[in-house]
Symmetry: C2
Subunit: 331 residues, 2 copies
């Protein structure tokens, strides 16, 4: 691949001048600019992002990190898509790190990202108290959190009002006449699990529906946990008549288990999920769900990150988007 000095030689100038026309800074005579542009075209020269990144902390290396807990989860895929959209528009490349809710993997990925000299990071940290990530924020790496915040740390975060979303879901169930409403929670180290549980409890409380502790189950946020915990609930002597599932993987798992047992939804048991998918209406039955604007979360996060890269001392913002209940046929 041609390098800057090749261009310089061919245009009969020094690399400094070439650099100047590439970055549009410094004065350069129009005639030599043309010469250089011509050489660039002829040699199909492309600047090396690697060299650029190595050399200059001051200028952006156009590389972002994305750290997500589970790419199997359609929610994060949609977030990722949103991020990618704005990253690409701003000429940033993306290093994708899928840590699968594995602490060690997360640590290693963070090290890699640091070592890659990324300009900024969008992360859904393993938990609120992620020391390593906090440290990176402290050290000045531009970071924005999605879906999950970072305790006691001044960092941009964009997420959804989990309490309110869950509240709406459960309120909807109550108003529809259900009384034994179960909650299958994701990992309780994840803030959103707790917040959703809070919404669940608040709704029950508001309508004076007793909260039977046996009806809230906690798993690891994965598909299998939905199957397992839904099964446990259905095996109860006094099983629930409705189910609030803590995320989409859990919902899908629960759905699978309910179908396996030949139960009818919503006659035998109703279900409302947290997280909507574009194909939720094709499920059996069409799923009532709390919709997070995942794509928008990703886009907003991307925009905030790029803003912060360009203005590192901008005051941090917490952007809370609205979750919306989509009523379909499962309740």
């Amino acid at each position: 691949m041609a390098s800057m000095s090749d261009v310089a030689r061919r245009a009969g100038v020094s690399i400094a001048t070439v650099s100047r026309v590439l970055n549009n800074n410094g004065k350069v005579r129009e005639s030599t600019r043309i010469l250089i542009l011509k050489a660039i075209k002829e040699l199909k020269y492309q600047p090396s992002r690697v060299a650029k990144r190595l050399r200059s902390k001051s200028v952006s290396g156009n590389l972002l990190g994305v750290l997500i807990p589970d790419i199997k989860n359609p929610f994060y895929v949609e977030v990722l898509e949103g991020i990618e959209e704005v990253a690409y528009r701003n000429n940033y490349a993306l290093i994708m790190c899928n840590f699968g809710q594995d602490d060690q993997k997360e640590r290693l990925y963070l090290e890699i990202l640091q070592s890659e000299g990324i300009d900024g990071l969008i992360a859904a940290p393993a938990h609120e108290n992620d020391l390593q990530l906090k440290k990176m924020v402290k050290e000045g790496l531009p970071v924005v959190c999605v879906d999950r915040g970072l305790k006691d740390t001044d960092v941009d975060v964009v997420l959804v009002d989990n309490v309110r979303g869950a509240f709406q879901a459960v309120e909807h169930l109550i108003l529809a006449g259900y009384r034994r409403i179960a909650y299958i929670s994701g990992l309780s180290t994840i803030p959103s699990s707790l917040l959703r549980e809070r919404g669940y409890r608040e709704a029950l409380a508001k309508y004076g529906v007793p909260c039977d502790p046996v009806l809230v189950r906690r798993g690891d946020s994965k598909h299998q946990s939905g199957i397992q915990l839904c099964g446990e609930l259905l095996d109860l002597p006094d099983p629930p008549d409705a189910l609030f599932a803590g995320n989409n993987l859990i919902t899908l798992g629960a759905l699978e288990e309910i179908h396996r047992r030949g139960l009818k939804i919503p006659k035998d048991i109703a279900i409302v999920g947290f997280d909507d998918m574009y194909w939720s209406s094709s499920l059996n039955p069409p799923l009532t769900a709390v919709r997070q604007p995942a794509g928008e979360i990703g886009r907003r996060a991307g925009e905030l990150l790029i803003q912060r890269i360009n203005d590192p001392k901008r005051t941090s913002v917490q952007m809370m988007l609205n979750a919306e209940l989509i009523r379909r046929k499962s309740t």
Copy 2:
């Protein structure tokens, strides 16, 4: 961040020696190795992948590119997941490029990847005749193609037997008694679309079922095209009694349209999709589908790529995995 010279200074040696212990090459006395290791630990030193990549074409920079057409498509997400798994295991980071079946975006992404100095690339090219990608292969970049090959080019590729998969699907429909079988194809610039159509035709031919040209529709592989083209088919004076959908997005779209019209599956119309998802059994009705081992495709591709990086002149392989028909309730 501490650099190698910091370590060297603290250990009282030169950077060359530090480099030697880091890469385990060259002789270094045990006592100084220990000294250096100690300094590394104390300074929390981490080598810069950027510098490493810049300096040395000979040693791997531990960076891979992934170029996929559509991250909305669960198939590619699963492939991506497989790739990520083996990449991580081998200490490679991943630059994810989602080109959305947009030629210009693909071109730009390829340029970025080149400029990032990736060690290798896994790609599902926009079409068989992707000149830019071909050129990169020719120039020696290790590449493995997934899902789609590259014409007249000596490159590793891992994919599924599309003809056979489609054949099985359509044969299954025929044996179940359906006769007016429609095919909704994806983009016809994509080899797999054509191959699946071939399987479709071969099955019809084998059983002497006439092939009504009005029953094959071609779209852009996206969700919306499934809705649209399924609608057109259903509006036909003599509509199909069964549908073979060219990929999962199309399937989901078709499903949506069928439900919107209040038609019953499979009574009014049967449907079999190409691509299975782990939640296909939760669809309404549980979907009969041709399952591609997407995760395995990704893992294999990752392994092949790393092999090739380590042995660039290894002869190229074409790995064809089996697609399997999963019978559920939609047929």
